[in-house]
Structures are given as structure tokens and as C-alpha cells.
Symmetry: C2
Subunit: 334 residues, 2 copies
């Protein structure tokens, strides 16, 4: 089944763009930080994953997007106040996603999207971006879809976008169906006031190998990847235990080992896929040294050089004294 057929089955009619398109207000979707990572697709067309994953949404950090039907042959796409040429990768990726809703009808849209996180630096702006665009299109086309359906649609734009439909802890059930109808995220009914995430910016540049290509390379060339689903499934059980018991040590250690294991599958790929910079490694060594001294500080990392620290708000001053430039988010408040 291809993407167009999957989306067609979710729309009220094939010509919804002709019948219902209207301008929208801004819709917000948060960025999310996975504590059990998504790495590897079993279906690249539908973004169906090889393993389940679990994330925390980043409260106010994410993407705001509004859409508006326009006359003309091509979409008019704006990112952070700058008009993007239609031949940029960014504009093409958004237009191809909107094509799923157009189903062949020649309706163009103006898309205005704003991130308050660095684009493409491993801070998952594509996740919040496609989630916010999905929410805006749901409004623009008056689809009135439920969250699970929106999560499925967002997944077609970028896998981890399915988790950015929700706030708080979110689990992406990998599903088993070929059409992906059972592969979408669910919110986890748990709060964790005082849980803190700190963003270290090692490098804000665009990464050399995008996640899509990186995953494909890992699945094709890395022997160790065969054991990655075992790691992810084991970690998922531990993370649920940690969240239920508010056991921060279990949460942090599981998230860190999960991230390092994902990077291990990249490192063991060919050609080697090493997103770490020397400064990333120096930051890790600093964290391990601080932990040895008793500070409950862990990290996670996505497909990029940046670290995301995990700690409790009670240790905020201690953490800031060692990482003064840290941007801190409390996903559940104080």
C-alpha cells in the first residue's frame, strides 16, 4: 500500500481540498526527546519502524504552523519568516507531504512555519514540524480527525512526528499491519513534575547524513543492529517501570544506555556513521565524572552531535554550575 492510498482511506472524500480548504490560525506541536529511540524502518514509504519508542514532549519548544489555500501553481512556503524557494529540500518535503492531502487536486497552500529550536541539528525539528503541519491541515481541510489518526498522518511526514502530536510522555506502538494503521503514538497518563531536560548545543550546523539515510545504512550494513529490537523492547519495559515508580535513576540510566546503543549501531555501520564530535565526547566524559561524584545526571542523544541532559529540578543549580549555557525545559512544570 502506498502513502496516497493510506491517506485517501482517512479523508472524507478525494477532493476535500476543493471542498473544504480554509485559512487557519497557528497550530503548535512540541519537539520530543526520545528516551527509547526510533532507529530503523521496516517500510521506508510508510515510515513504519522496526522497534517501538518512547519520548517526552518538550512543552513550549517546537513548531508553530498555519496554512492557507492560495491561487497559483505551487505552494508558498515560509520558514522562520523567510520565503523558501520551491526547489529547496525543505519546501519539496513539505509540498510532497501536502500532496497526500491534495490527492491529485491542484490546490496550492501558503505554509508559514516557525521553529523555536535549531533546525536539523538533532533537535528533531522535523518531528514537531510535520506534527504541526498535520494539525494545521486537519484544521484547514476541516477533517476533524482524532489524535490517533493525526499521529498516523504525521508519521508519514517524519516517523517521530507521530509522537509530537501529544505532550508529556508518549509511546509509539510500532504496530504490525502492512498499511501502518496500528503504528501510531499514544500518550502515557503520567506526570513527573520536576523532571528536567537540558539542551547542550555542541554544533548547530546541519548534520552530514540525515536520519532517513542513516537508518537505511544501519539496517543494511550493521550486524549488531540485529540485536537493536531486543535492546529497545527491554528498555521500554524499564522505562514504564521508571515512570510508574518515578524512579529517576532507572529512567536516566535506561535512556542513556538506549541512546548509546543506538549510536553504537551507527558506529558499527559501514561506512561508519559517527555523529559524535570531539566536544560531544568531552561532554559525556564530564557527565560520567559528575555522576561518579554523586550527581544524578544522565544524557541522551539523537542522530547528531548534541547532548540532551536528564536531571531533576532539585539539581538545577549544580548542573548549571557545570554547564552554564544549558537551556532547561521542565516538560511537566515544577
Amino acid at each position: 500500500m502506498n502513502r496516497f492510498e493510506v491517506v485517501a482511506a482517512m479523508l472524507p472524500s478525494a477532493d476535500v481540498c476543493a471542498q473544504a480548504a480554509r485559512a487557519t490560525e497557528e497550530h503548535f506541536a512540541p519537539s520530543n526527546i526520545a528516551v527509547c529511540k526510533y532507529w530503523g524502518k521496516r517500510d521506508a514509504e510508510l515510515n513504519l519502524p522496526i522497534n517501538p519508542s518512547l519520548s517526552v514532549s518538550l512543552d513550549h519548544l517546537g513548531t508553530r504552523t498555519r496554512v492557507e489555500p492560495i491561487d497559483g501553481p505551487v505552494d508558498d512556503i515560509w520558514l522562520n519568516g523567510l520565503q523558501m524557494r520551491p526547489d529547496t529540500m525543505f519546501a519539496q518535503r513539505l509540498s510532497r507531504y501536502i500532496d497526500l492531502y491534495r490527492q491529485g487536486h491542484p490546490q496550492a497552500f501558503r505554509v508559514e512555519t516557525r521553529n523555536n529550536i535549531p533546525t536539523a541539528a538533532g533537535l528533531a525539528s522535523s518531528a514537531s514540524g510535520f506534527a504541526a503541519l498535520t494539525l494545521a491541515l486537519n484544521d484547514a481541510l476541516q477533517l476533524e480527525l482524532e489524535a490517533a489518526a493525526l499521529s498516523m498522518l504525521a508519521r508519514l511526514g517524519s516517523g517521530s512526528a507521530c509522537r509530537s502530536i501529544y505532550s508529556g510522555f508518549v509511546e509509539w506502538h510500532m504496530g504490525h499491519r502492512e498499511d501502518g494503521a496500528d503504528s501510531h503514538a499514544h500518550p502515557i497518563e503520567a506526570q513527573w513534575p520536576g523532571l528536567a531536560i537540558g539542551l547542550i548545543k555542541v554544533d548547530e550546523g546541519v548534520k552530514s547524513v540525515d536520519s532517513r539515510s542513516g537508518m537505511a545504512r544501519t539496517v543494511e550494513s550493521c550486524h549488531l543492529y540485529q540485536s537493536w529490537p531486543l535492546q529497545a523492547n527491554t528498555d521500554l519495559v524499564k522505562l514504564h517501570q521508571a515512570i510508574d515508580a518515578q524512579d529517576f535513576k532507572l529512567l536516566g540510566s535506561t535512556a542513556e544506555q538506549n541512546a548509546l546503543s543506538m549510536h553504537a549501531t551507527m558506529i558499527a555501520s559501514w561506512p561508519p556513521l559517527v555523529y559524535w564530535q570531539p566536544d560531544s565526547l568531552a561532554a559525556m566524559q564530564k557527565i560520567w565524572a559528575l555522576r561518579q561524584q554523586g550527581l544524578e545526571l544522565y544524557f541522551t542523544m539523537d542522530a547528531g552531535p548534541n547532548l540532551k541532559l536528564l536531571f531533576l529540578e532539585q539539581d538545577r543549580e549544580a548542573v548549571l554550575s557545570h554547564f552554564p549555557d544549558l537551556e532547561i525545559v521542565l516538560p511537566f512544570g515544577s
Copy 2:
């Protein structure tokens, strides 16, 4: 079966130390660089590996050792001209190994051992050290054992020492017997004149976690390790092809992916086992950039921060221009 029983079966008599001990000349064993790594034991008492491995011996770099029976209650152990106190880890490890030959008889030895490689910095001085000591004890006790038996005995001192009994390319067959009688190295009948190994010294300090503990941690805590034997066995086939065809690209790429996969299993262990320093990563990035520019340059790494470069002698000047401090070894000459 324990180590004492295994060795007893290989000695002409239990009191060989009483009957035949004599002073020896120096015996040399080379260090070896594995292109398919040994990582993980199925039997920690007998140093029986979970996977086969393949190495190149480093010609003139290694260990020279002589032994001499002495009167007195304890061994008198000298390393690089310095007398080692009997309570040092180094002296204790050697004495415990000699105990296997003493079989309870109270004969002490003077051991004089000299390395021309940095000790315990990932340049496998324990491999050449136990191999040289095994050769010296074979002479001192007039055992007249064959190479395969010496390889097996050296393995009891340090796993990879079984490969340092030979020069050139060496394969360690993991074996399947419980007593380890089929787990020893064999020389590969192949020469490769012009094959060059370059040693980069990132850090000559003693490493924070020794290989024995590191392996145990990986086997116990790393899920990805379950796929490591698959990696090693696949690489072994490729390495034999590369050696047979003198296909340097295949040799280099296989060795590099194998080393990175071994480090990946360490990185995915808990607590994380990261032997890399920021300078190690910077050296890797430099190598990948040079390879992109067309230089056939690969690396391997053991359980430490140092890189070992693999290249052909024809590229010596090009490699030296980027790594001026390189120590170059030609295991098979020009």
C-alpha cells in the same frame, strides 16, 4: 576443568620445576594487532573466547623475556630494568601464571622482561608479554612443546597472547572443547610485503578499565553483544578473502568495521565503556576525510584510546605528511 589441571596434562611430570629448571637466554614474542578482534570470554578461568579472531604480528615490536630459577620464597620480577614489588598487579599476574608450571612445587624464578611498546595503553603488551614468558618457561623447564601447545599455554596468561606465539597473519580458532585444548592460534601461510601498520599514540597512560573487566561488563550488560559473534564470523571470511587476494581495500574496511563494532559493544554496555578520547575521535574524522580524498587509509583500535593505521607502503609519505609522529611497522618487510 581448572587452569592447573589443564597445564598438568601438558607437563612431562608434576615436579618438572624440581627436575629441569635452568636459566635461559632472552625469548622474544611480538605484539599483535587484531584485524578481527577478540572480545568476550565463554570461560574466564581458561580465557576461552566467544568468537574467533585474526591478527598481524608486529615484527620487532614486542617483549623479550628471560627466566632463571632462584632460591627464595618469592619470584623476583623485573620490568624494563625496574624491580617490581611482589604486591604489584604486574608481579602477581606473572607469578600466578608461573604457579601453573610450579604445580605446587616451591621453586621461585627471576623473570626479566622488557617491552619496546607502551605497557597497558592498548598496544597489547600483555599478549607479547605472556607469549614471551611462555617461550622462556618452555626453555627453562625443557618442555620442548610444539607451537600449538605453547599457544594454548600463553592463552591461559592472556587470551590474545596465544596469537603472539607466531609472526605474520595469525588466526585464533575459538574451539569448542570445555578444556580449551582446541582453542589456540595457527599461523596463516601468507605474506604481504608492503603492508604497513602505523601507531598513533593518543594517550600512553594506563587505561581506566582493563580488558578482562571490560569484556565481562560487555558480555553481561550489552544487548547488542548478542550479534557480535555474527559480526566476527562474517569478518573472518572477508579477511581470508582479502589476504588471499591481497585486496587491501577489503582488508582495511573489514578491519575498521570490526574494530568499530567491538567498540560499539563497549559503548552499548552499562556503565558505558568508552575508551575513546576526544583526540581519538578527531583522528578518526581526519582518516575519514583523507579517505574521501582518495587515500587508502584505514584504522583499527583495541581497548584503549590509541589508533593503529593500516595502509600500503606506497602511501607512506602521504600518510606521514598527515600524521608526522607515526611509528610505522612493516610486518612482512618492504
